[in-house]
Amino acid sequence: MALRGVAVAAFLAFTMIIFVNINPQVWSLQALATFAIETRNFIGTLITVLTWFFGLLLAFLLRLGEDELLQILEAINTYFTALGFGSVQTIEEAIPPFLSSIYFLGFQLLFLAAIIAGILSLFRISGRLTSMCFVSMIGLAMLGAAAPSLTFLDTSTSLFGPTWSTDSNIFINPGVFFTSTIFLVAILCYIYLEASYQVVYFHSLIEPPSIREEQLRRQLSRLRSDAAQEVPVRRDAEIPVPKVLQRMLGSEAFRVMREVIEKKLLRREWLVELEEAHEIRRLNAFVDNLFRVDAEAEATLTARAAAPSLSKMAVLSIVSTVVRFIGIIVISYLSFYPLFVIGSNAPSIIVESVDFQFLTEKILLLLLPLCLLFPLSSTIISRLRQRNLQSSEETTSQSQQ
């Protein structure tokens, strides 16, 4: 319950942050209708263009004159207009509204997907659904950032807008960086992701043992009740045998034949039931004996003893998450402001270069090596541990020899 509470709080906070920053004009119910109209117009334009090409090809093949060609093209155009696909738009006129309608609809669909995935993830505690919700929300931010001219994101108050500039003292003063709204919103989004995954982690460890225990109890009680039941002796039920046979065989022969069929069929079913009942009784006896001779058998079957302690897990999780966050924040700051690290030691050729004045190059300068440092060091650790293990195994085998 507490886990679900954390997940709900994280989801609501994340959704609110995204939601309040979206221009309310976006929420138009006409998005789907506009998309349909624009799609129809676009397809109509495409068909018109294609038929014109077809007409030209026909005129070329039949060596028609200019007047005849125009007549054919007009006829084609009239035909398609009558079908509802005719268009007077040019391709240049048709594409922008079409793309705009896709964008408009995509925005709403992404938000819908994010909400559905987010709500489902709360009920099912699923990492996959959490990822879907997060990706959809980030997709919204990316769509907003991709087309600022469409003002789907309110750039005047938006947290997503480019409010920092590279020459701002925000990078020089870490306090300003860490208290800026951009940083706070980004870290909140990341907290949502991390908190949701932590909830999934807790759930994956705590839920299965209780389900397992419940399942075993159900299985055992069913086993006991089934074992106590007796298989009723089969009364020979009447099996329908065609009456025509009775006329052919005579009543006595027919009766004998029916009895033979009934015995054969019913006995087979009864034997299967008997066999199943026998198996259940044997299993029940085996389990009873097992519980008698092995005191911890019930606990091991339910894996009750292997269930982790929630309080210990919670404390360790909080500590490790805090350490993790500090690491992530520090590395992110250093990536944003590499001069904080390289400072006056930086070669002037880098600091004064034209490329370094741009955000991309500045961030990549430290981000890439820092991020590659972790996989590299883990690879080195892995190799070293493997080598130590091999050498200790060799030593053990030599001493055994």
């Binding site: 990822s131 951009i182 995954y197 982690y201 097992l290």
Partner: protein
């Protein structure tokens, strides 16, 4: 290595970062950095905490030799002897597919603190005889957020031997017990026993007959010298030659000809040994040659069980080679019961049968007929059934010719299906015993 989730987050991070660069959006840039750094930052720590040698696994199996259909309880004890905790571990104990998981689970997801020991168990049922391996235990270790994982495997493999089903022998025992206790009085007629000898009848006196055998009442009645004739029950030497060729394993694993043949052999051995007959076994194919010399007693029965449990179908059945091998081991007259589908090389079969007769042994071939076993418990459409029947007809014709030629040599072939293989084998054995063949 990266898990699926870890890879996804890293890729999303790169995508968002590139988006941030492309649209000059600091929020996206910063979030991208968070995601990228977040997906890699704990990898060195995770690598340090992987318990390469610190996980000790012990598997306890309540019994390692048991009968088909029996239940076994498997208990796993896992101890983390390392100095660091394992945040998330999935433990998976491997067992053969032919086993059925009845209670508990063979896998567990948990966390293990340093020095902690955890235990869990499960109950399996064996569905088929054979030699099987339980294990190894596999581990999948995740970090807290499941961004990284590592797979390890313990080298703990336990071998279990599943004997053929004891059900048939149990039914026989139960019938015998009922009979002993008089519950089935009148069901079976038995000849009146006269000590160690049974009275058979009266015949004319011939030179060499003992004078004490003369039946004077019969002499007075017939005015001829007549003697009483008795029959002594003598023990016999039975040899079961089991075809272990590839063809015997066709069809569903539980219903294969080999499985029925093994069940029949076991029942026959049990019945014969209870009647103090010596039973030997040869399980033969080009890939395995198993021999058990004729013997009696509980120890011999268990040796037979061990052999029957471990038999695997493979290679081609060569009756001639099997008979040559047995003839070199046993010179006394024996009764050979060959359980073979007779689908191997016909020349070798004929040669083998002639060799048996050449060594003055008696023999019968109990031949499980392939289609009857392979069509058992299998749903067939009307067309498939018609085709199947056509094949059966053709094969039966071939079998008839083979049967005729073998009968001329003095070795009958009896075709059997799953329903009658056991009674046929037992009745043939009893017939031979009554005839007094291969007496010790």
């Amino acid at each position: 290595m990266f898990s699926e989730r870890g890879r996804t987050i890293l890729l999303i991070g790169i995508f968002v970062l590139v988006g941030g660069f492309a649209f000059t959006n600091y929020f996206l840039t910063l979030l991208g950095i968070f995601l990228i750094v977040g997906s890699v930052v704990t990898s060195p720590y995770f690598q340090l905490t992987i318990p390469l040698e610190s996980l000790q696994v012990t598997r306890e199996i309540d019994k390692t030799n048991f009968f088909q259909g029996d239940f076994i309880h498997i208990k796993l004890t896992i101890k983390n002897t390392g100095r660091s905790r394992i945040d998330s571990i999935r433990i998976f104990d491997v067992y053969p597919d032919i086993f059925r998981l009845l209670l508990g689970k063979n896998e567990l997801v948990t966390r293990i603190d340093a020095g902690q020991t955890i235990k869990y168990s499960y109950i399996l049922q064996s569905r088929l005889r054979g030699k099987y391996n339980i294990g190894p235990t596999k581990f999948q270790i995740h970090d807290r957020l499941e961004f990284r994982f590592e797979e390890l495997s313990a080298s703990n493999i336990d071998e279990v031997l599943v004997y053929p089903s004891y059900q048939d022998a149990r039914i026989m025992e139960s019938l015998a017990a009922k009979r002993r206790m008089g519950y089935m009085f009148g069901i079976h007629r038995t000849r009146q026993r006269m000590g160690s000898e049974d009275f058979v009848g009266i015949r004319r006196f011939v030179s060499g007959d003992e004078a004490r055998r003369i039946d004077w009442k019969a002499v007075a009645r017939t005015h001829k010298l007549m003697v009483r004739q008795f029959e002594t029950e003598r023990n016999m030497r039975v040899f079961i030659i089991l075809d272990c060729g590839n063809t015997m394993s066709a069809g569903k694993a539980e219903n294969s000809k080999l499985e029925y043949a093994i069940r029949a052999a076991l029942l026959l051995a049990k019945t014969a040994m209870e009647r103090k007959d010596k039973v030997g076994l040869v399980a033969w194919s080009t890939s395995q040659e198993t021999y058990l010399k004729p013997g009696l007693g509980e120890g011999h029965y268990y040796r037979l069980l061990d052999i029957l449990a471990a038999i695997e179908a493979g290679g081609e059945f060569d009756l001639a080679a099997a008979v040559e091998f047995v003839a070199a081991q046993v010179t006394q007259q024996s009764f050979f019961i060959i359980i073979s589908d007779c689908e191997a090389n016909r020349v070798q079969l004929e040669k083998g049968v002639k060799l048996i007769r050449g060594h003055k042994h008696n023999a019968i071939i109990v031949a499980p007929f392939g289609p009857w076993f392979e069509m058992e418990d299998v749903y067939l459409s009307p067309v498939e059934r018609a085709l199947g029947e056509a094949i059966v007809y053709k094969l039966l014709e071939e079998r008839r010719t083979l049967s005729q030629s073998f009968r001329r040599i003095g070795v009958p072939i009896i075709d059997v299906g799953p329903g009658d293989i056991l009674p046929t084998l037992l009745s043939e054995y009893l017939k031979a015993k009554k005839k007094g063949v291969a007496q010790i």
